[in-house]
Amino acid sequence: MEKETKAFQRVYTKLFQLTKATVSLHAKGIGYDELAIVDGRLAQVVKIMEDLVTLQIFGGTEGIATNAEVIFAGKAPTLKVGDDLAGRFFNAYGEPIEGGEILGEEREIGGPSVNPVRRKQPSEFIPTGIAGIDLNNALVTGQKIPFFADPDQPYNQVMAMVALRAKADKIILAGMGLTRDDYLYFKNVFDNAGALDRIVGFINTTEDPPVERLLVPDMALTAAEYFAVEKNEKVLVLLTDMTLYSDALSIVSNRMDQIPSKDSMPGSLYSDLARLYEKAVQFPDGGSITQIAVTTLSGGDITHAVPDNTGYITEGQLFLRKDSDIGKVIVDPFRSLSRLKQLVIGKKTREDHPQVMNAAVRLYADAANAKTKQENGFDLTDYDQRSLDFAKEYSEKLLAIDVNIETDDMLETAYELFGTYFKPEEVGIKQQFVDKYWKNNKN
């Protein structure tokens, strides 16, 4: 039954148990987390009890027979890293989709975390041109932040746009349950922008088995660590869609009879996600890993286990929403947050940035109150009416995701709107900034 092939490899041909996602067999000398090939499919050891070894089959167990061949690899999943990765697309196993070989050093994926005392505090602003992000929720290198969006929002488009404008040395796309159309879209956009040589992709599409997705972020982050640590590069990792990744986690844990937690997610969801997101880092030598992720919501519900745990881990979230008043998708200023923005705004950007940002959001909140009043049939005051008019234009000129301007122009635009609809004392920013930047349009 057992025969030794190459060094470290052990081969077995008798399965003891089969479920939809796992197989078990009697085997000896197997290491935890070790990789195996079961009937040609990639698998990983998830449980060992005496000589009974349970393997998770990434491609699913359909059609696997009890006499299937099982080859243990003697090592955990690996990726070959090297400059050769640039400009290429890989499947979940780190094999080039278009064939061929990769030259590089073999690394185990899912490696250890960075010692917190070896990190540097992030401080480099990433302008994207989108005011809903730069003005209200500025991004910083080494940050991890997801888009919270319903499935019908154009999150992948926004993400591709942000990636191209972010001036990263490498963009690593981790596609999990990506539709084939979106995969081709990403390739196309990067190609048209002449950026293909800066891209590395690890792709699991909807046509691939869902459990394979579990390998994708670790592959992408192993590649990211190579470029950030060894080449001191600024690496941007795009993770889309982390809700589909979490679904794969729940498939496996349910099939291993683990007690599910909220929303049938595994009890370890927080740790599982944190392990990935915490790979975002700024190194003292200039290298960094920034992560922009997508967490799709169902009906805008952020209390669901996936967005909820994500929010507790990431450094803020960018909430996409359709504004029916202007008919465009905006970055919602209330529910979005960049926790690292205070490290750059007013420091790397103009001094009045924090004040302008807060004032505009406050006025937008006044408009929301006025709107509620209106909907409840109460009379509007003159101020209410002005804030409503302001909100519409603010949404159109600054919050909409199709805005693409410099940060200073965002501030100027904000002053134009303030001046059109309000008096300085209604806006409530520091007098020194009013003196310097206020635009008096109100006649």
Partner: protein, 598 residues
């Protein structure tokens, strides 16, 4: 002889080990994986099988691998040199670790055993001493670090000899103690203690009777925490738990601050590493880092060590409390610790309690909070640990096991509200939901009224009442419309807004406003109540808001200026002038009414 066993099963970081010899609950053991030794702790024993939780990744571990049991529980090393260090959850000195990445199986010594400390004897030959008695002291940063009789010593001892004042390393014997049977025991500057066992080297633990000044108005004024008291901060993500804890660690009036960063973001710890060495301690004038110790077990570090991290932090706090110091212990977030317990309990296929948490979650939390407190030491000095933990409830819903279990034991409840955070009313502590049980203690009430102001507690309850009545008026206005209610409702609402803006809200990022002394808090509370006591006459509801906004602005400007400075006084004058407008207005009105009558 240490017990040796062999691995028979592995599920993630739960490993099952078969042994011939004895093993104990919570005993530490090491898995010999290749050249590395992976540390683990026994969490269950059935027959000859020990279930161990491994503090590292178990990748590559095989059945049959040898495991050595060490005969002791998880311990920390206590001695001079702990302060301003950055440890992981198992008290490894993070700075001594090699490389950018945390290598598994790498354990580093928490102290500097070669460093010389300037020792001064406090005990002398023939003194009778017990566990925790002060034998001498060394300077650690600016703190007189006491060298104590080890806590494991039982009964009374006689000092046989003690070193002369001078420079010694932590390894050297500084005293010899003789027990009742006449056996001699050598004592150094360091000792070990198992983290899960409370250090009880104190004579008495009275009910807390003093306030720990935090500088945060919404806490000190509205719901103060006692020195040696307990509190917790539940709140959804983004509501301000971490900013509040960082602010407490910067401004609270404590000798030492110990922070357990338990299962949260690494960048938040980096923020402390980066900023604290630069920031001044408002009281000692030294750098904040000199009074701060961080136990960092961030969310990507091994899950099992998360649980250890809070116990490690508590034990270090107890050690310094025994020196007669005032310790503030913070843990962010205790929910991550509870989740680590849940992950393990699920792997062991234990019968789950609510939401899959272990059945004994409440008891574990209660035991932990009970280790805080104000104590009298054997020499009648006092020391304290004030403990504040954050809780991260799933979906922001407070009806979940960790919040509910904590609520049973923590005496202060600082509920962060999503609404307040959304409208940037920071710190987002809900003034109506939150409470401090200490306000009900007669000894605390007496303390407050004696040290701050004889009317203090009466004023606090008055302010609370105004907030409540303001909220009721606001609800009425929303139902009936601005002009559907008497103008008086608007006034009541705006009086509560004034308390909200002038007392509750505080800018954590403003150099002046970030911390407010009790004296200053008293002053501002009196100003706010003065307005609340006034009768206002407004023609229309539309005049109320704009007027109060001006009063609020003046009070806020006072908050932003140095207490009792010229700027402060100038702003107060402005505040007076705005109030006068109303006084004159109502007087004029009275006069016209009188004129009409005559």
């Amino acid at each position: 002889m240490n017990t040796i066993g062999n691995v028979t099963g592995i599920i993630a970081n739960l490993v099952i080990v078969e042994t011939e010899g004895t093993t104990a609950q919570n005993e530490i053991c090491y898995i010999k994986h290749g050249d590395t030794r992976l540390m683990a702790e026994v969490i269950k024993v059935v027959g000859n099988k020990s279930y161990i939780q491994v503090f590292e990744s178990t990748r590559g571990v095989k059945v049959g691998t040898e495991v050595e049991f060490m005969g002791h529980m998880l311990e920390v090393t206590l001695g001079p040199g702990i302060l301003s260090k950055n440890f992981d959850g198992l008290q490894n000195d993070l700075h001594k670790m090699e490389g950018v990445f945390l290598k598994r199986g790498q354990y580093t010594h928490p102290l500097e055993m070669e460093q010389k400390f300037d020792f001064k004897a406090l005990a002398k030959k023939d003194d009778k001493v017990v566990a925790g008695s002060w034998l001498g002291e060394v300077k650690e940063n600016w703190i007189p670090h006491k060298i104590m009789v080890p806590f494991v010593f039982k009964g009374e001892y006689t000092v046989k000899s003690i070193k002369k004042d001078g420079e010694y390393t932590p390894k050297e014997t500084i005293a010899v103690l003789t027990d009742k049977e006449g056996n001699d025991h050598e004592v150094t500057m360091t000792q070990k203690w198992p983290v899960k066992v409370p250090i009880k080297a104190y004579k008495d633990k009275p009910r807390p009777f003093k306030i720990l000044e935090t500088g945060i108005r919404v806490m000190d004024t509205m719901n103060p925490i006692a020195e040696g008291g307990t509190g917790f901060i539940p709140g959804p993500f983004g509501s301000g738990k971490t900013v509040l804890q960082h602010n407490l660690s910067k401004n609270a009036e404590a000798d030492l601050v110990i922070i357990a960063a338990c299962g949260e973001r690494a960048n938040e710890v980096v923020e402390i590493f980066t900023e604290f060495p630069e920031l001044d301690d408002p009281r000692s004038g030294r750098k904040l880092m000199e009074r701060t110790t961080i136990i960092a077990n961030t969310s990507n570090m091994p899950v099992a060590a998360r649980e250890a991290s809070v116990y490690t932090a508590m034990t270090i706090a107890e050690y310094y409390r025994a020196m007669g110091l005032k310790i503030l212990l913070l843990a962010d977030s205790t929910s991550r610790w509870a989740q680590a317990l849940r992950e393990m309990s699920n792997r062991m296929e234990e019968l789950p309690g609510p939401d899959g948490f272990p059945m004994d979650l409440s008891a574990i939390i209660a035991n932990f909070y009970a280790r805080a407190g104000y104590v009298y030491l054997p020499n009648d000095e006092s020391g304290s640990i004030t403990f504040i933990g954050t809780v991260s409830p799933a979906g922001g819903n407070l009806k979940e096991p960790v919040t509910e279990s904590t609520k049973k034991v923590a005496r202060c409840f600082y509920a962060l509200s999503q609404d307040r955070a959304d409208s940037k009313r920071y710190p987002a502590i809900d003034p109506i939901e939150s409470y401090s049980k200490y306000l009900e203690y007669p000894e605390i009430e007496e303390y407050l009224n004696k040290t701050i102001d004889e009317h203090w507690t009466a004023n606090v309850f008055k302010a609370k009442d105004i907030l409540l009545r303001g909220k009721e008026s606001y609800e009425q206005i929303n139902i009936l419309g601005d002009d559907g209610v008497p103008v008086e409702y608007h006034v009541r609402y705006w009086k509560s807004e004034l308390i909200d803006f002038a007392i509750l809200q505080q800018d954590a990022f403003d150099a002046v406003d970030a911390a407010s002394s009790l004296d200053r808090q008293n002053y501002m509370l009196q100003k706010s109540l003065e307005v609340a006591d006034m009768d206002f006459k407004f023609e229309s509801f539309e005049d109320v808001g704009p007027y109060f906004k001006r009063v609020i602005n003046a009070l806020k400007q006072m908050n932003f200026s140095e207490y009792e400075s010229d700027e402060f006084k100038q702003n107060e004058k402005e505040f007076r002038n705005i109030l006068k407008e109303q006084e004159t207005a109502s007087k004029e009105e009275e006069m016209t009414a009188e004129e009409k009558a005559s």
